[in-house]
C-alpha cells in the first residue's frame, strides 16, 4: 500500500463518519488514527453527545462487525467474553464455547465505569492480548479489533472508576465537547427530519486485510531521532520524580504519577498515523504536539492538590510542553 492510498481511505472513512456526526471532527480523526495504530479509545463526555452514534457510524463505514456492551453493575465477565455451555448434539453432551460480544471488530463498551472491576478487568486481556481465555482455553480475537469505551464524567455515584492499569491500556482518551450553535442546528436538521444520514461502507469486503496493511504502513512512517528524543523528554518530564527533566517544581507539584512508556509509544504511533493521514511519510514536531493531549491525559495521575486547585491534566501537559523545548 502507498501512503496516498492510505490518505484517501482515511479521508473517505472520516468523511462518512462526519456525515452522521456533526462537530467533534478532531475526535473522529483521532478515533481513526487510534484504529489504524492498533489502539483502543476511551471516549468521555456527558450523555447525548453522540458517543454511541460515533462508534456505530465508524463500524458501518469500516464495514466491520460491531458489538455493543452496556456496562452495568451486575454485568459478569462471562457476559463479555463468553462462556462454555452444555450442548446435546447427536446424543453426545459436551461443552461448547459460546462467544461473547467481545468477539467483534468494533466493540462499544458503553459506560464502562458502571461495571464492577472484575468485569472491567475481563476486558483487559482482550484489549491488550487480542485474545480471551475461558476455562483455560484461549480464543483469538479477530483483527482488526478496537474497543471504544465511553464514560460519563457526571453521575459518578454507583460507578467504579477505571483503575490506572486499565486506563493505561487505552491508546487515546478523547473528550467530546457539546456542539456549537451552528453544529447543533445541523444536528437538529439531520436527526429530526424525514431523511437521517447514514455512513456508507468505505472499505471493500476484505476490509480487514486492507486495515491490517494500513496499520503496517503507519509503523513505517519515518521519524527523526531529535523528534523521538523530544517525545522521550516530554514523557520523562511528566514523571514527577524525574530529575533534570526540564520541568519546574510548580508543574511537578500537581503530578502524582507520570506517564508510562505506553504514553510515549502512543505519541509516536499516533503522530505517525497523523502524518500519514496528512499525506506525509515523516513525523513532524507538530504531529507530536497534536497527539500529546489524547495520548497522555489519562496516563498522568494528578494528586489531591491539583484536584483542590481544579488543575486538569491538560493544563499540566500544556505546562510541560511550554517548558520542554524542541531540540
Amino acid at each position: 500500500m502507498e501512503p496516498e492510498q492510505f490518505q484517501q481511505t482515511f479521508k473517505r472513512i472520516e468523511a462518512e463518519v462526519q456525515k452522521v456526526i456533526v462537530g467533534n471532527q478532531e475526535v473522529i480523526r483521532k478515533v481513526l488514527i487510534a484504529f489504524f495504530s492498533g489502539g483502543h479509545v476511551l471516549l468521555e463526555g456527558v450523555p447525548g453527545l453522540g458517543k454511541t452514534l460515533l462508534v456505530k457510524s465508524l463500524s458501518r463505514a469500516l464495514g466491520m462487525s460491531f458489538k455493543r456492551i452496556q456496562f452495568t453493575p451486575d454485568l459478569m465477565p462471562s457476559d463479555i467474553v463468553g462462556t462454555e455451555v452444555l450442548t446435546d448434539a447427536d446424543g453426545r453432551r459436551e461443552f461448547q464455547f459460546k462467544r461473547g460480544p467481545i468477539f467483534a471488530h468494533v466493540v462499544l463498551a458503553d459506560e464502562i465505569n458502571r461495571a464492577t472491576p472484575k468485569t472491567q478487568s475481563a476486558v483487559l486481556e482482550a484489549m491488550e492480548e487480542k485474545q480471551v481465555t475461558v476455562f483455560g482455553e484461549s480464543h483469538i480475537l479477530e483483527s482488526p479489533f478496537i474497543v471504544l469505551a465511553t464514560q460519563n464524567p457526571i453521575e459518578l455515584e454507583g460507578t467504579y472508576p477505571l483503575p490506572e492499569a486499565q486506563l493505561d491500556r487505552f491508546f487515546f482518551k478523547l473528550l467530546l465537547v457539546p456542539p456549537a450553535p451552528d453544529e447543533l442546528r445541523e444536528v437538529l436538521k439531520r436527526t429530526t427530519g424525514v431523511e437521517t444520514g447514514n455512513a456508507a461502507k468505505v472499505l471493500p469486503e476484505d476490509g480487514g486485510q486492507l486495515v491490517n496493511e494500513m496499520k503496517q504502513l503507519v509503523r513505517q512512517v519515518l521519524i527523526a531521532p531529535p523528534i523521538e528524543d523530544y517525545v522521550v523528554r516530554l514523557v520523562h518530564a511528566t514523571q514527577g520524580d524525574g530529575q533534570n527533566s526540564g520541568v519546574s517544581n510548580a508543574t511537578k507539584q500537581y503530578i502524582r504519577f507520570g506517564s508510562s512508556p505506553r504514553g510515549a509509544q502512543a505519541m509516536i504511533l499516533g503522530a505517525k498515523g497523523n502524518a500519514l493521514a496528512d499525506g506525509r511519510v515523516h513525523v513532524s514536531y507538530e504531529d507530536i504536539e497534536k497527539i500529546i493531549y489524547p495520548a497522555l491525559r489519562h496516563r498522568i495521575i494528578l494528586n489531591f492538590q491539583a484536584e483542590a486547585e481544579s488543575v486538569s491534566t491538560d493544563h499540566v501537559i500544556a505546562e510541560v510542553m511550554k517548558q520542554v523545548k524542541r531540540n
Binding site: 513505517q220 519515518l222 511519510v281
Partner: protein, 464 residues
C-alpha cells in the same frame, strides 16, 4: 562570511543541510573573531605604545603580544565551540525557512538503511521541492552582531584613551631630563643647515652635562654662552619653524642654568654648614624650593627668607624697646619669686617674702606706667574676654614662627650682653638670650597683607 547565493542545485537535500551547517559554523567563527579581535588589537596597541615609550623591553613586548594573541585565540575557541551549529539545528533552520514541516530534519538525521527505501526516496523528493525555496544569501545572510559593535566601540575608546594618556603618564612616570631635551632639540636643529653648528654645540653641552668631572660653573658658563648664540641666531633667523626650535633650545638652556645654579647653591650650603640659617615651622612647598631656602643664596626665595630674618630682628628690637625695662625684668623677677615660693620650708623665708613684695611692687609700677586701662595685664595670661575669634589659652591657631639660628660668635656676644643686662639694673637694651624669634608669620604666604597676619596677643599693645 561570504554572502553568495550559491546553492547546490540538483544536489541531495541532505547536502543542503550540511552546506548550511558549514556556513553557520563560519558565521559563528566570524562572530567570535569579530567580538574578540578589537579588544586584542587594542591591547596589542597598548603594548606597542608601551614599547615605543620604552616602558617595556622588546622581549617583554614580544611576550605580551604573543600572550595577548594567545588569549584572544583561546577566547575565540571557547566561544566558538559551544555555539557550533549542529546538523539538526541547520536542518531545522531550513525547515523553518522553507516551511517544510521537519522534512530536512528527518532526512538529515535518519539512518536511512534501517528505514523503508520508498519512504526515504519520497521524503527526499519532497525535500528537493522545498529546497528550491531556499537561497542562502537571501535567507541566511551574515549579520554583524550587536556584541561586535559593542566590543569595537569599547576597544576603540580604550585605545584612544590610552593614546591620549600616554604623554601625561610618561611625564609623570619618567620626566625627560634637560640633557635629553637638549639632544632631542639638537637632533631637530641638525636637520636645518643654518642651525647645524648650534645643534653640535647643544650636543656637546648635553655631553658636558652628563660628564661628572665638569664643574657646575663650567656647565653654567657653557650654557650661558650657547644661550647668547641662540639669541643672536634667533634674531637672524627668518623661518618661523627655526625660530620655534631656537626658542625651545633657549628654554631648555634656561632649565639647565637653573639646575646648575641650584646645584651650585647646594654645594655652597654644604660648605657653609653650621654657619647659621633660618628654621621655619611653615610647610615647605617643594623639595627644590626648600633647598633654595636653606641655602639662602641667589634666588628670590632665599632673598625672601633673608628679608624675613631681618624683619624678625626688627621685631626683636621693637620687643625690647618700651617694655623691656619693666615687663621683662618683672617677668624674670616673678619667675624667681615663684621658684622660691615652691619650697616654703626653706630657710630665709622672710627675706624672700620681702624680696617678692618689692618685686611685685616694682612690677605693678612698671605696668602702671605703660598699660592703658583696656589692655590686659602684661606678664599674665589675658582674660578670656580679651580673646578674639580663633584665639585661646594655647595661643592662636595656625600662627607661624621662625627660628633664627645665629652664627656662633653672635650668639656668644648675645649671651654676654644678656648677662650684663641681668647683672646691671640699668641695662640699656635687653637682647634675648635665646636666638629665637617669636615674631609672627602668616601660615603659608609670607607676602600676604599685614592685616591678615595673625599676631600673638602679647604684641597687641605694641601694634596699637
Amino acid at each position: 562570511m561570504s554572502s553568495s547565493n550559491h546553492r547546490p542545485d540538483g544536489a541531495r537535500p541532505e547536502f543542503l543541510v550540511t552546506h548550511l551547517a558549514a556556513r553557520l559554523r563560519n558565521y559563528v567563527l566570524w562572530d567570535s573573531l569579530l567580538i574578540f579581535s578589537p579588544p586584542v588589537l587594542a591591547a596589542v596597541f597598548v603594548a606597542i605604545s608601551c614599547y615605543r615609550a620604552a616602558w617595556i623591553s622588546p622581549l617583554a613586548f614580544l611576550l605580551v603580544a604573543v600572550g595577548l594573541i594567545g588569549v584572544g585565540v583561546l577566547a575565540v575557541i571557547l566561544r566558538y565551540r559551544p555555539l557550533v551549529p549542529s546538523v539538526p539545528a541547520a536542518a531545522q533552520l531550513i525547515d523553518g525557512q522553507a516551511e517544510s514541516e521537519d522534512r530536512f530534519l528527518t532526512l538529515a538525521t535518519l539512518a536511512t538503511p534501517t528505514h523503508p527505501a520508498n519512504f526515504v526516496a519520497r521524503l527526499r523528493q519532497e525535500s528537493s521541492r522545498f529546497a528550491e525555496r531556499i537561497q542562502f544569501g537571501r535567507d541566511f545572510p551574515y549579520r554583524f552582531k550587536n556584541s561586535f559593535y559593542r566590543s569595537l566601540a569599547i576597544s576603540l575608546a580604550a585605545a584612544l584613551l590610552f593614546h591620549f594618556l600616554i604623554p601625561v603618564a610618561e611625564s609623570v612616570i619618567r620626566p625627560v631630563s634637560v640633557q635629553q631635551q637638549l639632544r632631542l632639540i639638537a637632533a631637530k636643529m641638525a636637520q636645518q643647515r643654518s642651525l647645524k653648528p648650534l645643534a653640535q654645540e647643544l650636543q656637546a653641552l648635553a655631553a658636558k652635562l652628563d660628564d661628572p668631572k665638569a664643574t657646575p660653573e663650567e656647565k653654567q658658563a657653557t650654557a650661558e654662552e650657547i644661550e647668547k648664540k641662540i639669541e643672536e641666531q634667533k634674531k637672524k633667523e627668518e623661518q618661523e619653524e627655526n625660530r620655534d626650535l631656537l626658542s625651545q633650545a633657549a628654554n631648555s638652556l634656561k632649565g639647565t642654568e637653573q639646575q646648575q645654579s641650584s646645584s651650585g647653591d647646594q654645594q655652597k650650603k654644604d660648605q657653609n654648614k653650621g654657619g647659621g640659617g633660618i628654621q621655619s615651622n611653615l610647610p615647605q612647598e617643594g623639595k627644590g624650593e626648600g633647598k633654595q631656602s636653606d641655602g639662602g643664596g641667589s634666588n628670590s626665595k632665599g632673598e625672601q627668607s633673608a628679608q624675613m630674618s631681618n624683619d624678625t630682628k626688627q621685631g626683636k628690637s621693637a620687643q625690647g624697646s618700651p617694655k623691656e625695662k619693666g615687663d621683662e625684668k618683672n617677668q624674670h623677677a616673678q619667675g624667681d619669686a615663684k621658684g622660691e615660693q615652691r619650697d616654703p620650708n626653706q630657710p630665709g623665708k622672710e627675706q624672700t617674702n620681702e624680696k617678692v613684695g618689692k618685686n611685685q611692687g616694682a612690677s605693678k609700677e612698671g605696668a602702671g606706667k605703660n598699660q592703658s586701662p583696656e589692655e590686659p595685664p602684661q606678664g599674665a595670661p589675658p582674660a578670656e574676654r580679651f580673646y578674639k575669634a580663633g584665639e585661646g589659652k594655647e595661643g592662636i591657631k595656625g600662627a607661624g614662627y621662625v627660628t633664627v639660628q645665629l652664627p656662633e660668635d653672635v650668639v656668644a656676644d648675645t649671651k654676654a650682653e644678656g648677662r650684663a643686662t641681668k647683672e646691671g639694673k640699668a641695662g640699656t637694651r635687653a637682647r634675648p638670650q635665646l636666638p629665637v624669634s617669636n615674631a609672627p608669620l602668616p601660615a603659608h604666604l609670607p607676602n600676604s597683607p599685614t592685616e591678615k597676619q595673625q599676631m600673638p596677643i602679647e604684641y597687641r599693645g605694641i601694634i596699637r
